[in-house]
Amino acid sequence: MYEACIGLEIHVELDTKTKAFCSCSVAFGSEPNTNVCPVCMGLPGALPVLNKKAVEYAVMLGLAMGCKINPRSQHARKNYFYPDLPKGYQISQDAVPICVKGFVDMGGGIRINRIHIEEDAGKLVHGGVETLIDYNRAGVPLLEIVTEPDMRSAEEAKAFLDYIKNTLLSLGISKCRMQEGNLRCDVNVSVRKKGEDRLNERCEIKNVNSFSGAVRSIEYEIKRQTELLCKGEAVLRETRKWDDEKRQSILLRKKEEENDYRYFPEPDLPPVEVDEAWLKEIKEKMPELFYEKALRFRKDYGLGDYEAKTIAENKDAAELLDDAVKEDADAGLCAKLILGDISRLVNEKGTRVPFSGHSLAELSGLLKRKEISYTAAGKILELMFESGEEPSVIARENNLLQQSDEDALIKVVMKVIEENEKSVSDYKKGKKNALGFLVGRCMRETGGSGNPHIINEMLTKILEVEE
C-alpha cells in the first residue's frame, strides 16, 4: 500500500586528458600532489579556464539522455570549507546548467532534471595521527546527473544506473571504474501511500559506493520509512550515510543543519556558449549509442532481442561483431560464438578479447563451410586466447579440420556399410534412425575428423542407390 519515490544524483568522472579548469593530467594513481598547479591548488591570483572537452562530453551525454542543451549556461561557486577543497568553493553550475529536462524511456519513464559540469575535490588520506591531502583529484571534471524521483523500486534504480553506465561507455566519455571512484551516486528516497500524487519528505543517502550498495541502501531506506509511516510517525528530511558493511544508514545531519552553499555566478568564467554550429559538430562526432546499436543488430544482422541487446551493451563485443560482419562473416554465427565460448573465455581468463574481427570472421567461415565442428570451434577459441594465432592455422596444426573430401571418406563409408549389415537393412526397412548409428561409426573410424554432414549425405546417397 506504500510506494517509494527514488531520485538519483550521479557523479561521473570524465575521461578527459586534462582537468576541468587547468592543464594538469587527470591520471589515476600518480604520486600524491604531482598532478597539481597553481590553478587547481587555489593559489592567490590563479584563474580557471574551462576545458572544452568537458563541455563536449556534457553535451554528448545530454543529447543521449534526451536533454535540452542550454545555448548559454553559467558556472557558479558552491561555497563551503573542507580541507580537500583548495579554493573554499567548488566550481559547479547552479541556476543555468548545461543540460536540462531529459527523458529516459524505462519503466514508467525517468525524467532527467539536469546534467551539469563541476570539478572534483582532492582526497583526504588518513594515516596514524595525521591526515594528509592529495590534490591530484582536485579539479578533475565531473558531470552530475540529477533525475526526478521517478523510480519506484531498487531494481528500477539499478536498471537506470546500468543504463547510465552503458551510455557513458558507449559514448567513451568515462572509464566508469567504480573502484577508482569514476561513478558515484547519492540516493534520494521518499515513501508515500499508493495513489497519492504529492511527494513526502525525502532522505538523501550519501556514500553509496557501488550499484549493489545503491540497491541495498534503497531497500533499507524504503523499509525504514515505511515502518515509520506504519507506526504513524513522520519521516523527517535528513541526510544519512550508508554503511555497506553494517548494511544500514546512519543520520548525518538534519534539515536545519544542512549547509547553505551560498551559490553565486562564477565571475572568473564567462558563460558557456554552445551555438548551433558546435552542437552540430558534436552530434556528428557522437558515437552510436548502445540502444541504437541493439536496434541495428536486430534490423541489419537479424539477431534476436536478447542477442542484440547483450552484445550492444558490451563495447568490445559489439565492435568485434561489426568488424567480423564487415568481412562478410555470418552475423548469427558470430553472435552465437560471442555470447557462447568467447564470453565464457573472457570471464574465465579475465582479459579482453585478444583477437580481431578478422579472426572471428575466419573462424565463423570455417564453421559455416563445415570445415570444423562447434566443438572444434570452442577448442580453437581457447587456443586463440592463448596464442593469438589465426584460427585456420590452429585448426590445421591441431588436426581439428573436418574431413570433407568424399574421395578420402568413401573408403570409410564403404567399410562401415560392409561391417554393419544389420543397421543397413534396418535403414532400408524404413528405420531412418539407423542412419545416425552409421554416421557415428564413420566418425569413430575417422577419429572424429570426418565431417558428419558430408558423411550423412554420402551414406544416404549410397543406401538410396543400392535400393
Binding site: 593559489l43 592567490p44 591570483g45 584563474l47 570549507f81 573554499g88 551559490y263 572568473d268 568564467l269
Partner: protein
C-alpha cells in the same frame, strides 16, 4: 620625471638604465622613511638595470623603474596583499601584467603598500604600515592603491600598477595628484591579481602624465589565455594614437554626484566644465537615477565575491596558520581570525550574509547593478564622456576618524563606474582649501580608453594637471 621623458633620454643615451635606477633609489633614500609607500623594495634593482642595459629594446618602457601594487603576483618576490595572511607568500609565477612589463624591459622597484586585499580607501587598512600623502604628510594618500599613488607622486617610481575594484586607482591618484586609468573590465588580464571581487577587479596604471598612462596601458592590455574573461578584441595602440582632443565631445555632468560633493570639489567640477566648453566641448548637466543604489550594490556584490575569493585562506596549503589548534575547523577559524584585519572580516561577514538563505540581498544588488549599467548605456546615447569628481570629498587627514558608512558613501562616483565595467581616468585638476589635489573623473563607454586618454591629454596640455 615622466616615463616618456626618461624614455627619450634613454634612447638618446643621455642616461643609462642604471643611472636612472640610481636616481629613483636616491628618491627612495630621501623619502621612503616618511612616505612608507613600499612593503617590499627589491634588493637587486641595480643588477636588473645593468641587465636591461645589456638587452636594449625598442619599448618605451625599456629601463623604466616601475612599482607594482602588492596584490599583484611577482615570481620569487614576496606578495602580501598587505595582509598577515600572506606575509610570507612568495608566488611561483608572475601576473600576466608583470610578465608583460618585464618583457618590455621595465624594472620592478618593489611592491607598494595598500589596504589589505584592496579593501579600504586610505591605505590605513594595511597590516604592516601606514603610507602618507607625499603632497603633505599629514594627509592620507587614498586607497587602496595608496602606496602606488605615493610612490609615483614622490618620484620613487616613474609609473606604478594599481588595482581598482570600486575606485582604488582613481581615488588615490586623485588624492596624490597623479594620473590614473581604470580600464574597461576585461581589457587587462587579471591572471596573478589576488582577487578581491572578480567581476569588478581591474588592474590599471598610475603615472605623472597621460602619455605615461598610454605607454603602460599599451604594455599590459590585451587578451590572455590564462584569463577566460579577458577580452579578445584587437589590441589598440594608445600611445601612437594619442592626440589632445575634446573638440566636439558631448560631455555630461551628472547632478547627483555634485549635490553631495564638498564645496571646493563642486567648484572644481564647474570650473572644469567651463574649461571644457572653452576647449570646444559641449557640456550639459545630466541625471543618473540609479546612482543612489551604487554604494549599497557595490558593497554587497564586492563583499559577496570577496567572501568566496578569500575562502582559500584557510591555513591548509599556504599562508598564515595559527600556532595552536585542535582540529581542521579550529585551525581554519583561528588562522582566519588571527591573520585577517578588521575591515577584511567585516566584508567577509557582510558578503557571507548577503549570499545566505537564497542570496536575496545579493540578487537585489545584482538587479541594481543592471539598472546602473542601463542608465550609463542611456547616457552614452547622448554623451561621449561623463564628467564627475573622482572623490566627492577633499583629502582627509591621517588622523581623521569617520564612521564606516560615511567612508563607504565616498565611493559613490567611482563605484558606480566599476559596477558598469566602464573605463575612467583620473585627471589632477585643482587644489582644495588645504592645498591638497582635486581630481576629475572622465568616464567613457566600454573600450573608449583612447578617447578618454585624448580628452585627459587636452586637460594636461591645457596646464590643468600641475597641482
Amino acid at each position: 620625471m615622466k616615463i616618456y621623458e626618461a624614455a627619450e633620454l634613454l634612447r638618446k643615451n643621455k642616461i643609462s638604465p642604471p643611472e636612472l635606477a640610481k636616481e629613483v633609489l636616491g628618491k627612495i633614500a630621501e623619502k621612503e622613511k616618511d612616505v612608507k609607500a613600499y612593503i617590499t623594495i627589491c634588493d637587486d634593482i641595480l643588477e636588473k638595470a645593468r641587465e636591461a642595459e645589456r638587452n636594449k629594446n625598442d619599448s618605451l618602457l625599456w629601463g623604466i623603474p616601475v612599482a607594482v601594487k602588492d596584490n599583484i603576483c611577482t615570481k620569487g618576490l614576496r606578495t602580501t596583499a598587505a595582509s598577515r595572511m600572506l606575509e610570507e607568500f612568495v608566488p611561483p609565477y608572475d601576473a600576466t601584467v608583470v610578465k608583460r612589463l618585464k618583457e618590455e624591459g621595465a624594472i620592478i622597484i618593489g611592491k607598494t603598500n595598500m589596504d589589505e586585499f584592496g579593501m579600504g580607501s586610505d591605505s590605513k587598512q594595511s597590516a604592516f604600515q601606514m603610507t602618507v600623502n607625499p603632497v603633505n604628510y599629514a594627509y592620507v594618500p587614498g586607497g587602496s592603491s595608496g602606496g602606488s599613488g605615493a610612490a609615483v607622486k614622490s618620484g620613487m617610481a616613474l609609473g606604478a600598477l594599481g588595482t581598482d575594484t570600486g575606485g582604488s586607482v582613481r581615488q588615490p591618484a586623485s588624492f596624490c595628484g597623479v594620473y590614473a586609468l581604470k580600464p574597461t573590465w576585461s581589457l587587462v588580464s587579471r591572471f596573478g591579481l589576488i582577487a578581491f571581487s572578480s567581476s569588478l577587479d581591474c588592474i590599471g596604471p598610475m603615472a605623472n602624465s597621460v602619455k605615461d598612462l598610454a605607454i603602460m596601458t599599451d604594455a599590459i592590455a590585451g587578451w590572455d589565455k590564462k584569463d577566460a574573461t579577458s577580452s579578445k578584441r584587437e589590441k589598440e595602440e594608445y600611445y601612437k594614437n594619442l592626440t589632445p582632443s575634446v573638440k566636439g565631445l558631448r560631455i555630461g555632468v551628472p547632478k547627483p554626484f555634485l549635490v553631495e560633493a564638498d564645496e571646493s570639489i563642486r567648484k572644481a567640477v564647474i570650473k572644469a566644465a567651463e574649461k571644457l566648453k572653452e576647449m570646444g566641448a559641449e557640456v550639459s548637466e545630466c541625471e543618473i537615477p540609479s546612482a543612489k543604489y551604487a554604494v549599497s550594490a557595490y558593497y554587497i556584490i564586492s563583499s559577496s565575491e570577496a567572501s568566496g575569493n578569500l575562502a582559500r585562506y584557510d591555513g591548509v596549503k599556504y599562508g598564515y596558520r595559527a600556532k595552536e589548534y585542535d582540529d581542521y575547523t579550529d585551525m581554519c577559524i583561528k588562522s582566519r581570525s588571527e591573520a585577517f584585519g578588521s575591515e577584511v572580516k567585516r566584508r567577509i561577514i557582510l558578503g557571507t550574509y548577503a549570499l545566505s538563505r537564497g542570496g536575496e540581498l545579493y540578487r537585489r544588488a545584482v538587479g541594481a547593478r543592471e539598472l546602473i549599467k542601463r542608465d550609463f548605456e542611456k547616457l552614452f546615447e547622448k554623451y561621449d564622456v561623463i564628467l564627475t569628481p573622482t572623490s566627492p570629498c577633499v583629502v582627509p587627514k591621517v588622523n581623521a576618524v569617520s564612521e564606516i558608512e560615511k567612508k563607504y558613501e565616498k565611493d559613490v562616483c567611482t563605484a558606480s563606474v566599476s559596477l558598469a565595467g566602464l573605463p575612467a581616468v583620473n585627471v589632477p585638476f585643482d587644489k582644495d582649501e588645504n592645498g591638497m589635489p582635486i581630481g576629475l573623473q572622465l568616464v567613457g563607454n566600454r573600450f573608449t580608453e583612447q578617447m578618454l586618454l585624448n580628452a585627459a591629454l587636452s586637460f594636461e596640455e591645457g596646464g590643468c594637471g600641475d597641482v
